[in-house]
Every structure is written in C-alpha cells, then in structure tokens.
C-alpha cells in the first residue's frame, strides 16, 4: 500500500508550497495531482500578489497593518482578523522568498519588485510579473520542487477520504493513466484542491475546477465554511469568460457602458474602477440589467467595455501582454485599438474546508490550504492579489504545522495495521461505487445535467439573489442530484477514462452546489459578494458569523460560528 507520512492533494501553489515546507523540515511527503502540477489553475492567475513591501511610488507608508485593514474591510468584516493579520504580516517574507527562488517579478527602475494598485487597496501593493503572475509563481514553485526531488503522483483523481473516529487515515484515488483504483495511506493529509468554479456557468476557472476536493471532504463529514460566498469577477471576456485581470484597471483602464460613460462614478465615486470586486461586479451587472449594456437580448447575457486604448501600445505590451494575447486569440480584437467586451463571471470560492490559522481542519490529521480552505482570510469578498498570497502563506503554515506535529514520529515507513484495514474497506466501497456508475441504467445524460446545473447556479445563485430564486435553485439542484443516480459511465476503458472522471466530478459538483444554494438561502442579509434583493443591508446583529455546513443523509445541516475580531469593529463599507 502506498504510504507517506504526509500526503498533499493538489499540485497548485498551496500544495507545492506545503510540500516544500514538509520536505525542508526533513520529512517524506508526496503530492497527488489531477494534472501535472504546472497545469494547475494557479498558473492562470494574472494580476499579482499583495505584500506591504512599500516599493512603489506612493506606497512608502504601506504597512502590513494597513494591508490587514484593507483585507478586513474588503471582506465586509466577515474575515477572521487574527488570520488576516497573520497573512499580511507574513506576506513580504513569502514574496521575497519567491524572488530568491527566481520568480521573474517585474521591476522598478531601481531594481526592486514593482507593485501596482489593485481593488480595495489603500496603497499600490500588488507585486506582479507582467500580467502572468500565477504562471511565474507556479513555475518557480515547481522548479523548487524539482530541485528537491519531491515525489508526485500525477494524474491521480482522489475519490474519497478515509476518516474514522475523527481521524484522517488516507485516500482512495483513481490512477487516470492506468484505471487502477488505489489506496494511499498517510499520517497527515493536506487538501489544496482549489475552488469549485465550474459548478457555475460563465466561470473564469479552469475546466478542472469542479470542486471535487471540497465534495470529498464534505462527504467525509468535514465541515465546509461560508460556501455561499462566491466571487464574481467584474471583467471576464465576453464569450469565453476568460479572465481579464483587475490589473487592467490597476494600470488605468476604464469601465464604460453603452452610453459611453464611466459608470463607476455612480457606485463608488472615490475608488471608481478600483472598488472591491463585489461592488464593481454588481455595478456592471446593474448597468447591463437596466439596459445600458451592449449585446442586449442576445444569448450571452450582455456586456460592457473595458477600455485600455488610452494606456497606449507601449504600456499595454509591457504590462498587459497576456491580456492582449487573450483578446487577439479568443476574441479577435486588439485592446490597443478596440475596447474589450467584458461581463461579470464566476471567479473564486471564498468558502471552503473549515480550518484554523495553522491550516488544521476539524478532523485530526487533516489540513487544508489555498482556495479550497476557508480560514477565513477573505470573508465575504476577496481582494484581488490576496489569493496568490493566501496560497503561499497558508501552504507554508500548514506544511510547517504538519511537519511539527509529526516531529519525533516520522520514522514510520508503513501505515499502521488498523489504518490499512480501514483503507482496504474504503477501497472496496469505492470500487463498488465505480462499478455502480458503470452499470447505471443510463436513462439520464450527464452532460445535460451538468449544463443545467451551471445555468441554475449562474442565474439563480449569482450576483443578485432572493428567496424565490434561491428556493428554486435548491429544489432544482436536489432534482439534479436524483437524476444523476441514473447516469451511466459508458466507456469501459481502464486507460484514461474521461467519462468516468467527469462523471465522478459531476456527482461532487452537485453536492457542493447544494451547500452553496442552501447557505445563500439561509443567510438573510447582504454582505460582500452575497447580495440579497430581499435583504439589501448588512445585518451584523444577526449575521456577523460564519456558516458551517455538515453533511447529513437528509442534506446539508447548517450551523454558525463566530468571527474573530481583534482590532476592527465592523463599520459601513464605502468606497
């Protein structure tokens, strides 16, 4: 049986940073990844990573405390302030570390790391590598793993997490290349599996972001926190919903409606285009809904213009070359002389596996970091540039925590006998589940279920929500869950069976969708990215708390937990 003291599920920034931390502490670990690590969604991040370095002109007075306040206010006061402070305080060290490891950050004339303004930030503190910061960071992180010879199991899809008596013992995973379903035992397991964007239509996310890590944890009775908080990025390219980084606005781009007006003046007169994402997304959607957008009545949902023309060719080619390539290749336009058609798109999952500030989940031996975790540092709305930071800070903290908790016990080379037995039991159950999927009656078409799920979620659990549409959404998701029991995996192949992979992922998507919809229905207030047309104000008296979802046979059961407040009492959130 495969055994490592530490197993990390997910080969993106958080997973790889944790692996480096465990390795550097002298422990054996391995990374399990659905794809080769450099194909992880971290690679697609564009705009930058926040840290109060104080390098940029106008940022000399920046401090980690100010970064913390911006983050807490940006979160609409739902973030746990001790966790935020930890993150912003560690930020400079993590950024300098990546630079020491060779990350090709863009530079100021004097050679220091360049920083650009970003939404909701009081100072320009977003460090960047042109507009391909995720690519620069992930490749650097992978290079450091190659240097250390860290073991990876590539193209493995984790199917279940083995938990007994409140303790995580291992995983059952599908080796996609061979079709074998295998157990992997570990003393410590980290989930770094990313977000669940593909549950929604109009997502900026990679196709592999199906939330299956979240689903597996949830099915193993690990609580998911704050799942109703889904970020809709203001500027996704119309048509493909490929991300157009906030950096476009950070470099000076305008948002313009069909009347030619910079409409953000109405919604956030001071911050304008650089208000936090939830505010800008709602503003854009309002303009479209009220008839001041383009593409009215068309199938795609309407759009407005992101205008970069006034930045000039030189600046665009130097600071936003990736954006330009995406526009040329995927929309056939050149932002140097044409405004970019954009609409809000699903982008980030603020919620996730409930963890504390060291990345520990409420199940012994289980940790989580990155987008799939909810510490919470992003609360009800994440600031741009804080996700890349989150992955590295909490990837390292979780890695350190796992290593420390194993100190002195790291000599094992085999799983404990009880663990082995229990894993073999789960292996049988998982193989049965795969056989059941292959032997289904096939009266339902999985792609029809998947398409309907995405439509329901983006239309009814999207930017503007109310009791009526949320109730409908929940009912539809539950109906889709019943229908999915009648799909049949039609390919009997063992080697690279995408039919099996995508259908397993579909089951997980429906579980997570139910948690999101129920959380949104129960939360009768508006906060951050969760906007209720029937409860338009923030209600701290009743709702300054985190939602915790536990799985039961009857569906998700919701509880609530307090928000950690250190320095900042919630105030009205204006920009």
């Amino acid at each position: 049986m495969i055994y490592h003291p530490v197993l990390i599920v997910g080969g993106g920034l958080a997973g790889l940073r944790a692996a480096i931390a465990v390795h550097d502490a002298g422990l054996d670990c391995a990374v399990i990844s659905r794809v080769h690590p450099v194909r992880s969604h971290s690679v697609a991040a564009q705009g930058g990573i926040n840290a109060a370095l104080g390098n940029a002109e106008g940022a000399r007075d920046d401090t980690w405390e100010k970064h913390a306040y911006d983050t807490i206010k940006g979160s609409d006061f739902l973030a746990d302030q001790d966790a935020v402070e930890r993150m912003t305080r560690e930020a400079p060290a993590r950024v300098y570390e990546m630079e020491h490891w060779g990350c090709p950050f863009s530079r100021l004339a004097d050679g220091r790391i360049a920083q650009r303004p970003f939404g909701g930030a009081g100072y320009p503190r977003t460090c960047y590598a042109a507009d391909k910061t995720g690519h620069a960071l992930l490749h650097t992180m992978w290079e450091q793993c190659v240097k250390r010879g860290i073991r990876t199991y590539q193209e493995f899809l984790v199917l279940s997490l083995t938990v007994r008596e409140g303790r995580a013992l291992g995983l059952i995973a599908l080796n996609i290349l061979t079709g074998e379903i295998v157990p992997l035992a570990a003393d410590r397991i980290l989930f770094a599996t990313g977000g669940a964007g593909r549950i929604f239509g109009r997502s900026t996310n990679a196709l592999i972001n199906t939330g299956s890590g979240l689903a597996i944890a949830y099915q193993a009775e690990v609580p998911l926190k704050d799942m109703e908080f889904i970020q809709f990025h203001p500027t996704a390219l119309f048509g493909t919903n490929i991300l157009m980084t906030e950096g476009c606005r950070g470099e000076g781009g305008y948002l313009v409606n069909a009347e030619g007006k910079r409409f953000m003046e109405k919604y956030a007169s001071k911050a304008m285009e650089l208000a936090p994402r939830d505010i800008v997304a709602r503003s854009i959607q309002t303009e479209i809904n009220e008839g001041r957008g383009f593409g009215k009545g068309g199938a795609g949902g309407g759009y407005i213009h992101l205008d970069l023309r006034h930045l000039g060719a030189k600046k665009i080619k130097e600071r936003l070359p990736g954006i330009r390539d995406i526009c040329l290749n995927f929309a056939g336009i050149d932002p140097i002389d044409t405004p970019i058609p954009v609409q809000p798109g699903q982008h980030y999952t603020m919620g996730g596996i409930d963890t504390d500030v060291t990345g520990a989940a409420p199940v012994e031996g289980l940790y989580a970091a990155g987008e799939c975790a909810c510490v919470s540092v992003h609360g009800a709305n994440r600031l741009g540039g804080n996700s890349l930071l989150d992955t590295m800070v909490f990837g390292k903290l979780a890695g350190d925590a796992m290593a420390e908790s194993l100190a002195g016990n790291a000599n094992r080379t085999e799983p404990a006998p009880e663990a082995r037995t229990l894993l073999e039991e789960d292996l049988r159950k998982t193989r049965d589940r795969a056989h059941r999927l292959m032997a289904g009656d096939g009266t339902e078409d999985p792609s029809a279920i998947r398409d309907r799920l995405k439509d329901v979620m983006i239309e009814k659990v999207g930017i503007f929500r109310d009791r009526g549409t949320l109730t409908e959404a929940l009912a539809e998701v539950r109906e889709l869950k019943e229908r999915v029991a009648h799909i049949k995996v039609r390919s009997q192949a063992r080697v690279f069976n995408l039919d099996l992979v995508t259908n397993v992922e579909l089951e997980g998507m429906l579980e997570v969708a139910e948690v999101i919809a129920l959380g949104a229905l129960q939360r009768e207030e508006s906060r951050g990215s969760h906007y209720r047309l029937d409860f338009t104000s923030r209600n701290d008296a009743d709702w300054l708390k985190h939602t915790l979802a536990h799985r039961t046979p009857e569906g998700p059961q919701l509880d609530y937990s307090p928000v950690a407040i250190t320095h900042y009492q919630p105030v009205e959130r204006k920009y």
Partner: protein, 244 residues
C-alpha cells in the same frame, strides 16, 4: 453532409482494444457560443455526445497551462487556442497527438521524455550567496532579457516539432535548452559555467541545426533558436578562453 457541421478527423489509438490505430471522423456542429468554436470544444462535443472513450488532456482552456498541445491540420497548436474556422481544410479538421512522443491513448502522449530533459538542465535558480533580507535587485533591462524564455508553458509542441530529436531521445530539445538559457541569462543566477557545461555538448546545443521548427510551432511566440544560439556563442567564447 449537412452545411452546419464539419468533420473532426481524430487519429485514434486504444491500447486496450487490440485494434490498429487510425483516423476516425466525427460530425460536429459548427458555431457554438458567440466567438466561434475551438478545437478543444469540438473534442468535448465528441466526448460528451459521440464517443465517451475519447482521450485528451485539458485544464485551463486559455492557452496558459500547456495541457492541450496537439498536431492540428498539419500544425503544432494548442487545441484550446485554435479556432475550428482557422483549422479547416475543406470541411475537415484533422487532429492527432503530438508527434515523436509515445502515444498512451488517442491524443494523450507520454510526456516522460520531455520532463526528463527538462529536469536534466537543473531548471531552478542557483545562487551561491546567502539571500539578502529583501529582494535581490534586478534591472528592468535584465528582467526583460529573460521575459520571453520565462513565458514558456512547457506544452512540448517545440520538443515534438524538432527533427533533431526524432531519432534521438537524449537530445535535450528546444524547450529544455530554452529553460537552460532562461537561467543562464538571469542576472541573479551564479551557475552559468555549470549550465553551459550541461548543454555544451552534442546532446545539447550542438545538435541544434537551426531548423526553426520550434519557433514556428510555439504557441507563445518564443524564439527557442535564439536562446540556443546565445548559448552556442557563450560556449564558443569559453572554449576560446574569452571572457563571458
């Protein structure tokens, strides 16, 4: 055949069936959401509606992850970045796996030879000195000097396109060599001598005969031949005892 479909001609190989590999045609509807239809989307159409046994790699769908490099209508391309309309020859788009890498199934190749070569060039920054408290300084000009090489998404199109590598799996290939140069040219790296030794041999830069297939095939517009030529110059200078 109806006007509103085209033929997606896929080179199939199923290791489990015992059948010979060969082309198979699928009729796929044209159009799609506003903005056309990509080859990757066409592959998903076949997977979901016609053949659940089709195998291909995917992740980002936005030409940054490097998963979906394939041989499409006679050119090396990323499937996600290729519009069906641009790849049609008559009414057919032909897709096969990256040439010169072992095929696992359909469009999925064994990337091991590619990753092995990548790892051989020590693809990570080497700097002997202790790191400073803050960032090492690097001028914007120096940083510009590595931009192009650092843009590589490790898709293996160039590796697959290079004729020098066909008969010789040990040839490092354009991607690994470009990665080597990315560090040779990085002002923060102190291992230039070691790197040039690693690549300055007949399995490295000297097997490049400036055929330029790599440059033509790169979906990111990187000039791999330039990187290799720069290292040839440095190695020649070193061999002649000149200052690098």
């Amino acid at each position: 055949m109806p006007e509103d479909t085209f033929a997606l001609r896929i080179f199939r190989f199923d290791p489990e069936s015992g059948k010979d590999p060969g082309y198979q045609d699928f009729q796929v509807p044209r159009g799609g959401r506003s903005g056309g239809l990509t080859v990757l989307e066409a592959l998903f159409y076949v997977l979901e509606h016609q053949d659940p046994g089709l195998a291909f790699r995917y992740s980002c769908r936005e030409a940054i992850c490097g998963s979906c490099a394939m041989y499409i209508s006679g050119e090396w391309k990323l499937a996600c970045q290729t519009q069906v309309g641009h790849a049609l020859e008559g009414n057919v788009v032909t897709v096969s796996a990256l040439p010169h890498l072992p095929v696992i199934k359909d469009l999925v190749v064994d990337m091991e030879p590619f990753w092995r070569n990548y790892e051989k060039v020590k693809p990570y920054l080497i700097n002997d000195g202790p790191p400073p408290e803050k960032e090492r300084l690097q001028s914007p000009e120096d940083r510009k000097g590595i931009q192009e090489m650092a843009d590589c998404i490790l898709c293996a199109a160039c590796h697959s396109a290079c004729p020098s590598g066909i008969a010789n799996e040990d040839y490092l290939g354009p991607a690994a060599l470009t990665k080597a140069y990315r560090f040779v040219a990085d002002s923060r790296d102190t291992a230039r001598e070691e790197r040039l030794t690693l690549v300055g041999n007949e399995q490295g830069i000297f097997r490049c005969h400036t055929i330029f297939n790599c440059v033509t095939s790169c979906p990111k517009g990187i000039n791999q031949t330039y990187s290799i030529q720069q290292m040839k110059k440095l190695v020649m200078k070193r061999n002649l005892g000149l200052q690098l």
